[in-house]
Every structure is written in C-alpha cells, then in structure tokens.
C-alpha cells in the first residue's frame, strides 16, 4: 500500500472497527445490567 495515504486509510478503518465494537458491546452490557436488576426482588427495582 502506498505510504502517503496509509495513515488516513488505516485510521478510518480503525474508527470503523471502534464503532462496530461499541455497537456490539453497548447492548450486551446493558442487557447484563438489566438482567441483574430484574433478578433482584421487584420492590427494589427503581
């Protein structure tokens, strides 16, 4: 790959990877948090 553009291309692919990872992780973490909440007795929710 041409050196001149490498930085631009790789950083845009890196950003894309970061966005994809965030989109994958965020709902997963939220779901775990929700499940933890839900397994507590109902009175304590909220």
């Amino acid at each position: 790959m041409n050196e001149k553009y490498a930085l631009y291309v790789w950083s845009s692919y890196g950003l894309t990877l970061a966005v994809l990872m965030w989109n994958l992780l965020a709902p997963y973490l939220r779901r775990n948090e929700l499940r933890r909440h839900l397994s507590e007795p109902l009175e304590e929710v909220e």
């Binding site: 041409n2 631009y8 965020a26 709902p27």
Partner: protein, 247 residues
Amino acid sequence: MWTWFHRLASPPSFYRFADLLAPWLLALALLLLAIGTYAGLFLAPADYQQGDAFRVIYVHVPAAALSLFVYSLMAVSAAIALIWRMKLAECAVVAAAPIGASFTALALLTGMLWGKPTWGAYWVWDARLTSELVLLFLYMGVIGLNQAYSDARTAARACAWLALVGVVNVPIVHYSVQWWNSLHQGSTILSLDAIRDPKISGAMLWPLLLMLFGSFTFFFAVWLRRLQNEVLARERGARWVQELVPS
C-alpha cells in the same frame, strides 16, 4: 399476515423472535464485513486518480448510507408509534438513535479522513457534509430527549415527535446549504464530487456491495438487541420477563 404481524409485535413473542434471529444476522454481518474489508484493503486495485486513498470508500459509504437509512427507519417507526400507539415502534425509535448517531459520526470522521488527501481539506461546508452534521445533531437531540424523561413511554413519544419534525427538516437543510454555496463559491465542490464518485469498476465495486450488505445486516442485528433491551426494561413487571430471568 396481519395476525402474524400482531403476534410478533407483542413483547414476549418479539423477544423470542429476536433471540432467534439476531445471532444469525450478526454472524452473517461479521462474515460479510470481514470479507469486504479484506477485499477492500488488499484485493481491489488502487484508483488511478486517488491511489490507495479511495479505499476509505469501503467504510465511508456504508456508514453514510446507514446514517440516512436509520434516520428514515426511525421516522417511519415514529409515525407508526404516534398514529397507532404501538409500543414496539416506540422502542424502535429509541433503540435506533444511538446506532444511527454512531454511524453518522463515523461517516463524518471517515469523510474528513478521505477529504484531506483528496480535496486537501478535512472539511468543506457543502450540502452533503452540512446536512450530515445536522443529522448528527438530530440524533443527539433524540438521545438527549430520551434521557431527559424519567418515564420511558413519554420519552419515547417525545423522541418520535422530534424524529418526525426532523425528517422534514433534513432535505430543507440540504437544499438550503446547496443554495448557500451556489451564492458564494463556484461549483468547486461539484467537480471535487466527480472525483469522489468515480465511475466505479467491477473489481472495486463488489467489496463495496459486500460492505454495504454487511453494515445493513449488522445494523439490524444490533438494533434487535437494543430493542430487546428496551422491551425488557419496560416490561420488567410482566410475568414473561420474570420467567425469563433466573432468580
């Protein structure tokens, strides 16, 4: 067909349906994205004008396409939510906003990274860039509005109103900026656009199509997951949720 649709829209059956569908969608998406990325970076020939800089297209165009598509989807869900008061549609609006915002930001950032080597500037105030930026603000407005309310339903319906008004707004912004540019500078950007959208050859095109398909599938997979979370949070008192969670 309609009974099927109604049954699907009920929270418990939707939840199970999403549980079945999401892993497959995600696997397909990751496969497509992996092949597309490899092909885009290593198999596609370098552009004769832009050299390797054009490879940004494989992440930029899917992100930009998704940013617009997700907003339209959000607006359609908003209309359904407001007209038929469908709970799932309300969740859909709220669940789509963060994903859309992230891809809009990605489209803007990769666009800047592409613009620097090809246009010589990270940013120009042309119609596409400006309306994309406005789109990001609209998404952020929806996210912020959703968090400002303590009641999830009120929040979601307020977001739905904002999404609807916003969808009228986006084309207005686009054309107003176009007019604004035409008054000021010549159509330098138009000729730059021609560089940006070259007549694309087959060897360059197929990785792009893979990436487009992959991104859209990816969106649907994570959207389903977020929708599940929304449904779960709202129905926390319902019996099917209690049965779902091992206590």
